[in-house]
Symmetry: C2
Subunit: 462 residues, 2 copies
Amino acid sequence: MTIFPSLFFDPFLKASLPLLATATETDTESSALIIAGVLLSLVVIYFASKLGGEICARIDLPPVLGELVGGVVIGVSVLHLLVFPEGGASASDSLLIQFLLKTSDLTPEAAQSVFATQSEVISVLSELGVIILLFEIGLESDLKELIRVGPQAAVVAVVGVVAPFATGTAGLIYFFHVPTIPSIFAGAALTATSIGITAKVLAEIDRLSSKEGQIIIGAAVLDDILGIVVLAVVASLVKTGEIEVFNVIILIVSAGAFLIGSILIGRLFSPLFVRLVNEMKTRGQLLLAGLIFAFILSYIAQVIQLEAILGSFTAGLVLAETEKRTELEEQIIPVADIFVPIFFVCVGAKTDLSVLNPAIPSNREGLIIAAFLIVVAILGKVITGFTVLGQPQLNKLAIGVGMIPRGEVGLVFAGVGSASGALSASTDAAIIMMVILTTFVAPPLLRVVFKEPKVALEEQSN
Amino acid sequence: MTIFPSLFFDPFLKASLPLLATATETDTESSALIIAGVLLSLVVIYFASKLGGEICARIDLPPVLGELVGGVVIGVSVLHLLVFPEGGASASDSLLIQFLLKTSDLTPEAAQSVFATQSEVISVLSELGVIILLFEIGLESDLKELIRVGPQAAVVAVVGVVAPFATGTAGLIYFFHVPTIPSIFAGAALTATSIGITAKVLAEIDRLSSKEGQIIIGAAVLDDILGIVVLAVVASLVKTGEIEVFNVIILIVSAGAFLIGSILIGRLFSPLFVRLVNEMKTRGQLLLAGLIFAFILSYIAQVIQLEAILGSFTAGLVLAETEKRTELEEQIIPVADIFVPIFFVCVGAKTDLSVLNPAIPSNREGLIIAAFLIVVAILGKVITGFTVLGQPQLNKLAIGVGMIPRGEVGLVFAGVGSASGALSASTDAAIIMMVILTTFVAPPLLRVVFKEPKVALEEQSN
């Protein structure tokens, strides 16, 4: 029945198939189980993020806090569903892998490698999450608006970065004898105001367009940039392991050069970007072109010893100035919705809150450090409002209070610091405590320092 | 200067930091480079997919073809930018890793582990891509419409699955002496019509709402489901390594039970889903709730030895029946836009077209198999139109031609088959050749067999 017998090599085919099957069976088996493990992790992560977010939204707290706390609950501190090898966990510590063992044909021997690969994949997804988050923050920022709001916002931003950074770092080194690098890291984590949380809270109390609101937003945008430069500098310091003035200068110059250079080159390139995207006919052209740009800048930032997030943030800033901004913002929302929660939940899951248990004497340092950081974090921002001189009608306390929430960017510091191994567990947990508390405390405080908007409106109309 | 000396443990802190730094320095270093590698891979993948897609869109071919060809160009066949360890490549074969070595501080020693992890991450992203693609196809499908189009579509679908499957499998076994399992796989790859490509081509020539168009779409939807069941059955057969009638029955029953069971349970559950999503207040609630549902079904499908894609497709079908369909479809588009190209480009990149080089005698079998598959693929679908009896005014040739393109689903077969190790390189390449050719040939053929729409309209109005 064979038509062209000389052309076909049955023995080869027949022999090669079982061989192929044997060689790749374990691979295929474990790659199918890696997918199963990743799917299960994502289900748990999304569930925790939504449950936490919804609970927070109902008790009038920022949903992002709920995602973090949701991560804490499923992570190493409580349920052990999502644990990571770098925290010292093995496959047998992961409830998720135990569930996989029970529900699939995963063998205990293969469990460790599935655990390792699945954790690596989730970690990369969480890194992509923060890269995409900063791209979105960049898109929502506005260089021109920033320039308009002018010197007041700049003073508020700079004081709000320098004061808590200097006080926090110096305090940790001199009062608490924390080594220099973790002190700088913790100080740096005190700098950046969360533009997302601040803007959301201002919108909720109807004060986004007030003069105070404008200054807060402008300063928060500037703060974001300053904070990212500080993060990049600090993270690079951690990488080199010591503080060399030459290195710091190089890093500040390269961070500045990268930021300014990318923005200038990006502005030259953005008309070409818009023309190219308009020419393209296939689905997703704008989103993929935007992500290609963001990922290239992230790659460059990463390999020149800065952080990938600085690249994606800059890409967002550049593209925010094009006519494609609104369209791109709309398209990035669902992408951010599925990637960003992975980051926050993983930060929470990796946080070992057991170091804050005051019953164990050695843990008390974490709590004391947290208390110190919280005081510095709040006072260091509250004073910023009073740096705006000569405008007596301005609610200066409100400006300072508006700068209190640290939110995403503070967590980025905690995440990067903990991933880099620079932060001890207690300092890391203290930073997260500080972020949680400042974010918790800001929304109710803002309502106190601003008059109730309805009352204000009634007073105006009377 | 120490305030509470007894509470702080400087020696611990000072000693633990360098320890931590040493233990995690390589990890941090390589994890930063894994991110860099993944970012670079994504840039290359997105660039290839858009370049290929745009070229195809300009010469009037489906963009998905361009993504596949783009993958072939950057993959193991041509540029070696994106290669995978399961294809036998090592870090030194990957141009991308070589680029990383040149642009970053990656050491040649660490290169192999960065290459392995980065490839694993891209493979998982590509798997998530096909899971999300099938979720989207499920959302775009419509059980009720299918029932309306009725028996004609069903006959066309069933004949269009059985005829090429039986002819293809039998032909490969008896004429070409290919072993049974790869023959069944290749036969199965001949079954599923690409609903996306067919619908798009029909829309382009303005025939989507014609009676022929309705039957084609209905049959293509059914075909999609049949094809996925066939894929699940075949992939499971590959996993167990042999054909056992009992296994086949178990699998068909479990595939059927899973599909019908999920749809029935899903329908009961979907009002709760809609109520829950309406109750939720945080960003991304619908998308994440939908993905949680899709990933749970994917996980179940995966662990009961079916394929994850069957789960996400079913989840899409169920959610397509809720009032949230349109909103969810809109939100899934950007997500699919960033995930799905990774799948198609990776399928292309993993395809070693060198096995089709006719200069090497042993390669000729791949070409001959491809020629055979192409003939069966076209004839097996063209005859389906003529199974619609008693409607002489119907353009039966057009119905059959409309069923020719295999597109995504055919590539899913090739991808799953090649990943599972069941397909020899030549059979795998032959299937891809068949998919490429049927997809290439359908759009121009459809224009020939349908009269020009303008002429038809003029005849009507005369």
